[in-house]
Subunit: 277 residues, 6 copies
């Protein structure tokens, strides 16, 4: 396992992680051998079921299991239960989170930019240490599209989720320059505007920042499932690990959709507007 | 205007507001007369257009214009521009925000509970001062429904929005006890579970809290547009003001949908799951 | 107005302001034309009366109207009322505060040093960015005077105020090197001592710091009205704006004395000293 | 000395002092006898000269010598030098500061109210523990006067100082109810207004709070020397100590005026107002 | 295991623990059966060896394994390795720390007081909730002894450690009233003095507090190994658990001495004192 | 005295002290002559007795008298009493604390390293300003010894104290590279490990850090009395002052042992280990 961890750290340098983040090995013994590595966005019960069922020796997830630090991993706590199951199954858990977001080339944001067909991609907020690393990415579509056509393409190339794609902006607006941020990227709106983006695609957008952004003018907004925005990284990370270790470990991407939403109900509700007196 | 403000403060006691909130009169002169009051969720450009077009003397919104305090209201700032337009039009702006959320009977959460048909409604987190006031509400449906049927009803009774309704949970789960929180109520999940709710309906839910909630078990989750969850309060507030002033002012509910999302693209994207090596 | 604001920002760079300060445009629309600009120390009711009476399009003050940030500018608040009056009169309000204190050449402290006849003037606490900018000034009188003669000159060249001039030190002490700080400059005593000043002239001095300064030795102290110490900047700023815009706007200095003290009662009270037992 | 300290603590309960204050014995040995006690506002060099010259065994001051706590009292520091001189002279130093401000009956504020002829005096901000104790005092003049006549009386009954008395308000305003606060009492303006005071007399008032107070309306303001506002306490405290100890110690009030200002220059300066262009 | 945990929580109420503490279940599944419980002061490698060797199902320690919270329990970290070993051995780890210190009757401090033969024992700093609970204990010896004789008894009744017993005070001082605090109790010196104790016995005492305590006068000090001061609790806790569960689980006290010091070298070093010039 | 203070400041630069420290002159007048200087670790009553008895004019201690700053030095406080006695005896007190710890060549840690026979000594945590200065020291023994032999040498070369020397580690471990830190140096364990030390010698070590250090592996630990670890500096400092001033002052090292522990009781107590049920 030590060799696998070194290969992952080389791609996703832990020094790139935010100070509040929790990356690296969560459980598992670096001295034990690893034959099979499974990649997933979230370390959920369903994903651990898959680890056990497929005999994986190491689970690599984007999201930390223990972002809030703990004084114990008791078996009657949902997260502690997963630690017990992994340790008993002899499987490790490794997290590459904001370091994978920021990493150049094979990171989360480059993977997202690639599936959207962006070129000339650079970080929205470059790292002061390595200008190829940093938060978000901004790049160009091969040719301009309407915002509507862009959104249709987003829906087509990202994994299907219950929530789908929400768009704020004029459907006929021309989109050429696209900013993206896997995960919760609402705070990058000002950077996207400064970078001349026509649209910012990210997830977990809330009413107030979106409302203020529209009032201020600037890029259109495209909101997708958090899971969907980060999923494109999984096959990339699996592929590079396989290659970096010259095929000495098997890799697989989890088949579980860890987006938490089950379904979506299109609202055809009552029209707003009412007057009295 | 002074009389109108007093009537609003009597219904929506400013002492109920959070310490960080910004409620009360934002602009306008309490000594001027008021003939017509317009109610809206957000003080946006479109809503101020409506104020000017309809000659309203006072705009009452749920959301503050200046939640982050300011050192000025210059005309080249989106919010400052609205202040200039309102002052020049002789119209005031009044905000009832977390005080309206918490207020008993004619507040935001009671209005939401009422349109969903809940009975026996009590606050999820009662105020220590007045047990009828507080955060969120929990009540009973007239008769149990499946989660799917509940979600269909939600979609039918709330204003139509681009994002519609997202649901996390088993569609066949029986729902009888319902917790609601207008606006961003994700932090009330534990209270909803403690209150024995089968589902929590609120808005602005993000990936991580929803994911953790599902792993921990407990209520299903139903996410609607922030705007849609608070809109039911507008006709209620308009009605009670009209009645409290014995019809001496005209009231109206804004016809603008201030939900910022323009449209929704159902995602039919690629299936998740991939394996290499 | 945009051109006027740019000229003011060029003279009084907002980047020189303290982090807690509130400089720039408070209200008014940069797209409207400006024919006449009025300069004053404080944005008080009397000064706004003068704006309205003289038809000024822009009021430039040294002190901020909204130093403590606000959630609204309601008409029943003294400051909100001024914002309403200015907006309705079509007049803007612009503040140059600690940036004007620090600015080189045509700033508040250089203006004060000039009326006192100082030469070879440099900042007491130079800015790390621009050594000609910074807090306070220190310079030399053309020829040495007694402290008494210096104080008489101060009283003669600054605007008359109720409080006049208070001096701590030996009236016969020779004064050659003079430190000044417009506004509340008590915290600059140590810098003035380190700069070899014979006297520090500033305002708003309080008992304890003055008492400790005298016990420690060092410069004499000269306390004038806050208003009086900053007033000399008004004609300077008016003049440079007029010149910077090649006379395309009219400028005027307010005739209102905004020092808040109405009159002074020389105390001839009882002698101290008493003994019992 | 122990008996004297106990008598002072009984009048000026240290529990009434602010948490940041530094009251009680600064130097001196409680086991040594005390024949003569000197009272002064400030522990300055001149006052310590008087202690040595008069052979006093204990100096009682209102202001702390070491309000900012120290790691040493070296002889080359102005304050350390006083400690050395007192210890070598066998004299102690005792401080009664905010506890004397707050104390009922024989405290600083009651003494000030008494010399101004106020009756029916109560604290402006009463202590929650003892309603007779607290910050400031408010009471009634025997009969109404104009503000000008009130200021003349203030100048007559307080010790003469260089700065004299400054007044903000209409000289013809009728004054009946008077709020006072010895020392720096600018923060009590709102309490004075709430108490219905026609004028607040205190010291160390600065431009901004006074300016804002005038814009908001409310009491007139009367500013005297910090020293002058607290001096009336000295004969009171000396008297009560003498009486409390049945005359077993001699008491005296220092003859030094510790107001730091040496003289005042009435400003006849240039008129404000200027216009160009 | 659930039943065992409930019995421990009943004796050592987690609500008594400090807010910074980390008590309760660290690992292990409450749904599994428990046949044998091992008690130890510290969860060290040697103690976990004993858990594995003796087939214990639950380890109860006084000190937390993860007092500083963690983002993972990786196998290459000393603490993570212990978690892996315990989980693989099917054994749980439970911590009763400051709740056991404070608990009445069968807590750490009562156990220490009992082995020293104290009677009439009460908390040094009683809990506001339960006056029988709290920090430290103070009680009376059956008859007075010299401090030397007291120290000899301490050495005789506590487990042998390399560091032994250090005493500060006159060996002939009479000791009757004894304050104790298991673990690091240096901060209780003032409470011990206030309680009239002749000696305070605790551990981990450092130079400066001891030095200041001696200068101030008050109780003598007796410093023992941290481990030794808490060990007496182990047989007590084992016994009460055995009894509370009516003998349904086997209990044992660890035979490992987890005091970290290996040996002690009596210093016969050079005499202090030296003079030059 | 001024010349003596200058010589001490030159050797022990106050700029090297920690920000929280309290170094320099505590009392005494720099203008008075100094004939005799006494050096001690702690400014205790016994040491001040020695100052008075030997007629020393200046006491130089390593530990501050007033580390916690004070508002006074009253004679009924243990520390205030010492200030009174020193001032009346005409003696000053000077402290060189963390500046003496960090100082190169003639500082506390170099003195400790020298008596232990270390060579090639460098700071464990070098100062960024002067690489020869810094926290702790690490160097090499002339030839390797067992840990037991090293501890015996420690006991032989440091002053005798009640507590002696405690060692954690295998007595047969070979020791060649030695890290030392006079005073409380437990926080330097990681630096000592990183520097490749076989043992860290320091004082005031507590149970938890020692226990964790042993579990993590790394250097052995050797704990001596705080006083003993710093005493070797006294003759060094006395000698260099004598030399720096060309013999113009007499110097002496205090003969008082200020280690607070009176005696040590070897514990032969009961064996640990117990089992029931």
């Amino acid at each position: 396992m030590r060799e696998v961890l070194a290969a992952l750290d080389a791609r996703y340098d832990p020094a790139l992680a935010e100070s509040w983040d929790a990356v690296g090995l969560v459980c598992g013994d670096p001295d034990e051998p690893v034959g099979r590595v499974l990649f997933a966005v979230d370390p959920t019960t369903a994903v651990v079921d898959e680890v056990v069922a497929t005999g994986a020796d190491l689970l690599v997830t984007h999201h930390p299991l223990l972002l809030t630090p703990v004084h114990g991993v008791p078996g009657d706590d949902p997260k502690g239960r997963l630690v017990h199951r992994l340790i008993r199954a002899g499987a490790g858990l490794f997290v590459a989170h904001t370091n994978a977001d920021r990493a150049p080339d094979s990171g989360v944001n480059d993977a997202l930019a690639t599936v959207l067909g962006l070129t000339g991609t650079v970080p929205l907020e470059p790292s002061t240490v390595d200008p190829r690393a940093g938060l978000g990415r901004v790049g160009e579509l091969a040719e301009p599209r309407t915002l509507r056509a862009f959104a249709e393409r987003v829906a087509a190339v990202l994994p299907a989720t219950a929530g789908g794609v929400r768009v704020a902006g004029d459907p006929e607006r021309e989109v050429r320059r696209v900013a993206v941020c896997g995960g919760s990227g609402g705070s990058l709106f000002a950077s996207a505007a400064a970078a001349g983006a026509d649209v910012l695609l990210t997830s977990d957008l809330r009413h107030h920042p979106v409302s203020e952004a529209l009032e201020a003018g600037g890029p259109a907004l495209c909101d997708v499932a958090h899971f969907a925005s980060e999923w494109p990284w999984l096959p990339v990370a699996a592929e590079v690990l396989h290659r970096d270790l010259s095929g000495r470990v098997e890799v697989a991407v989890s088949r579980r959709r860890t987006d938490p939403w089950t379904w979506h109900e299109g609202s055809g509700g009552i029209p707003a507007g009412h007057s009295a007196g």
